[in-house]
């Protein structure tokens, strides 16, 4: 499994998001390396199809596929299961994406 974590340093939630990702991976027994990608420029954001920080991709698939893709250096909005807005993906969101990616190999 390939896990990518893309972030922009100016959004303060990325460290907390990375901790959460690693914790859920451990709970799920996934030992894959997390590829950290710091996005530093608008050009790089376009090239990487970066819709905001933090973005997590499992085998190249966004854990919360964006409804419209506007690329750039910005903080990303996640809509949580209970309707709240957060700068972070929830544990459930990460877990569901990891489990969905695991299924084809089982």
């Amino acid at each position: 499994m390939q896990v990518s974590f893309l972030y922009w340093e100016e959004c303060p939630s990325h460290e907390r998001a990375l901790e959460r990702l690693r914790a859920v991976m451990e709970e799920e027994g996934i030992e894959a390396e997390v590829e950290l990608i710091e996005v530093k420029t608008e050009e790089q954001a376009k090239e990487l199809r970066f819709v905001g920080s933090p973005t997590i991709r499992i085998d190249g698939v966004d854990i919360d596929p964006p409804s419209h893709e506007v690329y750039g250096l910005d903080c990303r909005i996640y809509y949580l299961e209970d309707g709240r807005v957060s700068p972070l993906p929830s544990e459930e969101m990460i877990r569901d994406a990891l489990r969905a990616a695991k299924v084809p190999n089982e």
Binding site: P12, S13, I77, V85, L88
Partner: protein, 177 residues
């Protein structure tokens, strides 16, 4: 870093609001406290804390507290932060305070605001008594351990110095032109 330090006087301004009026800081000279909150529509941090700011205004309005929300983001790059979008958001979310448009960004630059949201709390003499973030958990209101803004409001209304008068603002960067 903000240009104002705790103990400094507020910088006067006059800005248009989503309510169709123009508001100046001097309009609120009779208030016990005035909280300027630099914020915007599109930032997830601003949106995560938005209801808590609305609630604070509701809870403290009877005690002479006035919140003034200010959006200074460059709307040409972030259309969701344009004036029409601000009007819509203020109505949808029931803002019980003016939502001001700092189109020229002069007010944000004068204050040295950097993030959304970022709070500047002034006492009845217009002296800055608290600057920084809203509280210590943007994600979950139920997990807040330090309600910095509300604690500072309580202290200012009681004539005391806030226990914590400065915190690091947490949020998106203001989108400069």
């Amino acid at each position: 870093m903000a240009n104002l330090k705790v103990g400094d006087k507020a910088i006067p301004f006059k800005l248009p609001s989503t309510d169709g009026r123009t508001h100046s800081l001097a309009d609120y000279a009779d208030k016990e406290a005035v909280a300027l909150v630099f914020t915007c529509n599109h930032c997830p941090y601003a949106r995560a804390w938005e209801e808590r700011i609305v609630q604070a205004q509701s809870d403290y309005a009877g005690k002479g507290v006035q919140v003034l929300a200010i959006n200074a983001n460059d709307a040409s790059r972030y259309p969701d932060d344009g004036f029409e979008a601000m009007k819509k958001r203020a109505e949808e979310k029931g803002f019980g305070f003016p939502y001001l448009w700092d189109e020229s960004q002069e007010v944000a630059r004068a204050y040295g605001a950097e993030r959304t949201p970022e709070v500047f709390l002034f006492d009845k003499d217009g002296v800055l008594r608290y600057h920084g973030t809203v509280d210590d958990d943007y994600e979950d209101p139920a997990s807040v351990k330090n309600a910095y803004f509300r604690d500072a409001l309580d202290a200012v209304l009681a004539g005391r110095d806030p226990k914590v008068s400065e915190t690091r603002p947490v949020g998106c960067t203001i989108k400069w032109k």
